[in-house]
Each structure stands twice: as C-alpha cells, then as structure tokens.
C-alpha cells in the first residue's frame, strides 16, 4: 500500500487526526505531559473534570495500586471553570490537537453554568459530560446511574450549547445500554465509556480502608474485559459514535476496542505507567493498518466477527 494509512476520524463533525485521546483526570490539562511527549501527536486531549467552583478534592490517601489496576478517589480536584478558562485553556488552545473539556457538577444547574461559561470560549472542540464519577456526590454518578436522570442532564446541556456533547457513562449500572440510549435520545453526539468501577482496598495491618474516601474508582488492565463488553453492547445498540475507555495499554488493546465498535479510544492510567503509551498506540495503529493493507482506521471500527 502506498502512503500512510488514514487514521483520522470524524465525530459529530469534528475531525481528529487519529482516534487516540487521553482520558479525563489522567492527563491534567495537557501541560503536565508537555515535556514528555509531542502533544500534537494526540488525537485530542480531554481535560480533568472542570466544575463550577474550584475543588480541593478528597483527603489523602487518594490512590492505591491493586492487581493490574489502581483505585483513585481524587475527588475532582480542579481549578474551577473560571480559572480553567483563564489559566489552562490558553495552553491547550495553542496545541495542534483537539481539546475536549470534561464537565462535572452536582446539579443540572451546575453543569449548565459551566457549559455556559465554556460556550463563550475559543479553542474548545467538544464537551465530555462526566455523569459517572464514583468518588464524589458532585461527580454526577447520581445522573449516570439511571437512564432518566442521564437523559435529563444531557438534554439540558444539549439545549444550552452548540458544542458537540459526549456523555461519559458509568459501568456501575445494571444495564449501560439503557443509559446510552437515554443519552442518545437526549441529543448526545457520542458516548464514552467506561468511567471507573467502584472498588475498595483495606490495609489489614491498620484495619482501615487504604483510601481516606473509603471507596474509589478502579481503572487499568483489570477492568479492560468489563469495558470491552460494555463498549461492544453499547455499540450494537446505539447509532452514536462510541468512544472506548478502560485499561487500554497498548495497540492490541486499542484494536480490541475498535473492533468491538469504538471509533475512538481514551488512554487513562496507562499514561502514568508509560507517558509514551498514546504515541506508541498511534504508531502501532499505523503499522497495523499498513501491514494489513487497510486504508482507513474507520474500516476496522466494529469489525468484530461474531457469526
């Protein structure tokens, strides 16, 4: 095959140079990794969740390692939307990559206030609505846990912004397909999944939970099978673009999600283990397509054979 394979994807009218995004909360506001990788190689950066007011977050310890994964209970530490716009967005705007702002709140009104302030900004390509943070009441899990409330939250946001809206779904539900469908009906332009699974670790010597918050959110390779099953189910049930998240550490993992139906993927805690993960996956996808003479990455999306 001549030339490079086409890794670009278009979601809700926005063109991404490749399908590799970084997951909210694992990449700060981009600048933290600027010294380590060429950020322009990313399909896009999803910011740490932004809330209306600045948040200090939960008391420490906030993280603990578990088998093939980690628990976090950061508690949506962030500078708040105003300082985000002033201090963080300018850096992101200068990058030659897409910027997706992740928004969290404890009431629909909170979300709307954040969204309205973001509406006035330049340099934002999309919003990702976090209705799935398990670690704080304000993280929206209240919304993400039920189709009705997910609908309500997304619908309101949809009505108040012209940004494309991604609904970020929680895996801690009986039927994620229902929530995904609710988001679709509410006018979301895409769904991303999964956020972390609720988990816990105990310090047996101290007889105390390791995390000050008692429970936290599980991420990493441990959750990959769960994420993959959910992505596959949701991709089969909604017409929206599906963005896969959960334990993606290498190109093999990325391909699993793409075959299962994800048109884009997000890299979360793999960034911590190897900051090059995203770049290696982009390279790996290029190589995979080239070797197999596949012209476009989009030709692979949902290409799982289950017959």
């Amino acid at each position: 095959m001549k030339g490079r394979p086409d890794l670009s994807v278009k979601v809700a009218g926005v063109r991404f140079s490749n399908p590799v995004l970084v997951a909210s909360g694992t990449f700060g506001y981009g600048e933290e990794y600027n010294a380590l990788i060429d950020l322009s190689k990313l399909g896009g950066i999803i910011t740490k969740s932004v809330t209306l007011k600045p948040r200090e977050g939960n008391p420490p310890p906030r993280t603990v390692e578990t088998p093939a994964g980690m628990l976090n209970a950061i508690g949506l530490t962030n500078v708040g939307v105003d300082r985000f716009i002033k201090q963080k967005l300018p850096f992101l705007r200068r990058l030659n990559t897409r910027t997706i702002v992740n928004v969290a709140g404890s009431t629909v009104d909170d979300y709307l206030k954040v969204v309205k302030r973001l509406n006035r900004c330049k340099g934002i390509d999309m919003l990702e609505i976090n209705i799935s943070c398990p670690n704080v009441k304000e993280g929206g899990l209240a919304f993400g846990a039920r189709p009705e409330s997910a609908y309500e939250c997304i619908k309101q946001i949809r009505d108040h912004t012209s940004y494309p809206v991604i609904a970020k779904l929680s895996p801690n539900v009986t039927d994620i397909v229902q929530v995904a469908c609710a988001a679709e009906e509410a006018g979301a332009d895409a769904v991303s999944l999964i956020n972390t699974l609720v988990g816990m670790a105990i310090d047996v010597e101290e007889r105390k939970p390791v995390l000050a918050n008692i429970t936290g959110g599980l991420s990493g390779p441990a959750i990959k099978p769960v994420a993959l099953a959910m992505v596959w189910k949701v991709a089969g049930a909604v017409r929206l673009p599906v963005i896969g998240i959960g334990g993606i550490f290498n190109v093999q993992d990325a391909l699993e999600f793409i075959l299962a139906g994800a048109c884009m993927i997000q890299i979360g805690c793999a960034n911590f283990v190897d900051p090059q993960t995203t770049v290696k996956i982009v390279d790996g996808l290029n190589r995979y397509l080239k070797e197999r003479k596949i012209k476009r990455i989009t030709d692979l999306v949902g290409g799982l054979r289950t017959g």
Binding site: G57, P61, N72, G220, F272
Partner: protein, 264 residues
Amino acid sequence: MLAQLSCTVLSRKELLDHIFKLTLSSSHISRKAKPGNFVHLKVNSDAPLLRRPFSIHSVDRARNRFEILLKVVGKGSAVLSQKSPGETLDLLGPIGNSFSLPPRGREVILVAGGMGIAPLWFLLTRLAGRFSPEDMTVFMGAKSKTELLYADKLKGTQAKLIVATDDGSAGRKGLITEVFLKEIKKRGRDLKKLAVCSCGPHKMLKSMSEIAKSLDLWCQISLETHMACGVGACWGCVVKGNDGTYKRVCVDGPVFDAREVVLE
C-alpha cells in the same frame, strides 16, 4: 528538565540487609538533579504496574551517573533491587522541587530517619562548600544498629554526627526526633539561627512538623506518599497545606516547609 530516560544500571550493591544502592548512568540526571529531586522508576514487570519514586542520592557529573538508595518494602522495591548491571531502567526525572539552600550564617542541621539519608546525603555534599563542618550537624536515626546507614560515611564528612536508635543498640536510645528536640533545647541557642532539613518515615516527619511549628523553626522536610503519575497530572499524591489547600508532593514538593503542611 523532566525527561523520560532509559538508564543503564552500572552497579548494584547491598549496603545492609534489604537496602541497596543502585548506580545508574544518565548525563541528564547527573547534570540537572538538585538535592530533593527524585526519579520515578518503571518496575518493568507486570506487577506492580505503577512507577515507584526514589530520591536522587548522589550525582557524579564527571562520569554521567547518579545513585539511588533503595529499601525493599514491597514488591516494586523488591523487583527493582534485583536489577543487575547492564539492565536498563525506564525513568522519569528529575522531578520535584529541591531543598532551598539554608541562608548563610545559619547552623545547618540534617535530621535523617532510616532511608531519609538518601536525599539528605546529596544535600550534604552540596552544602559542604557553603558551610564549614562545625556548622553542620547530622542527626541519624534508625530502628537498631543493624539498620543504621552511612554512620561511617557521615563521620568522614566531619560534620557533627548524632546517632540514635530506637533500641539503643547504637548511639543514643530513642527516637531521633526526641534526641533532636532535646539537643536543640539543651543548647539553648537562638533557634532562629538554625536551618533544619529532614527526611524519613512519615511518623518522624509528622513529629518534625510539630516541632517546627511549635518552635517556629526554619525547617524543610521531604515527604513520601504513594504516587501515580509523578508529574503533577493526577493529583493523587497530595498533602494538606496549613492553608487548607492540597499540594502535590510530586511537583509542588517533595520538599515542604515543615510549618506549612498538616501531616496525619
């Protein structure tokens, strides 16, 4: 400054039971590192997954190498302690702030608990030109004689050395923080003339922080927490400041004014 590097292990030495010194090759680290900085090491096995932070213990610019001291406390440190010369380690570094140089004219006191000597030794070598040995005191604490690190090396520096062990098997008996407190009180000097730098287990630094607050000491402590990213992105490693905000140990620290953090 911060870079992701692949560094070759040049040597590995067992200093004490479970305590190792690794010498790694890196011109970048040896040139850029300051006392207090650390490196975030990939364990390079399936478990543990996350990197592990280790203080830069000494640098040798001429030979493009640096050292870390490593105590085996769990799986990550165990795997790392078995890396043999020739193997490479993937690391991020140098990371974090560093000890501020004590103002001239002060009496410098370093208080090390166990592995706390790791960054303090680096600091000591940098202070040596600036302060005369008689103006420097090192308090070195350990559980017992068998865990006492660097006593000989420290003697060689001519700085005053005060050793304490929990069981009294070497030096004075008792916690190093108690010995430190007694000592500075005993001297009855103007505490404003002291410049204290300390590193060690969490409990010890908590005591140091309390002492520093109650006596309003110029006192810097280098903290340890669990770290995920190590580069300031995840906010997992925080310590509470006395202004009620959380600071990231990895990039806002690891060195903090002992009066300005709240340790639990």
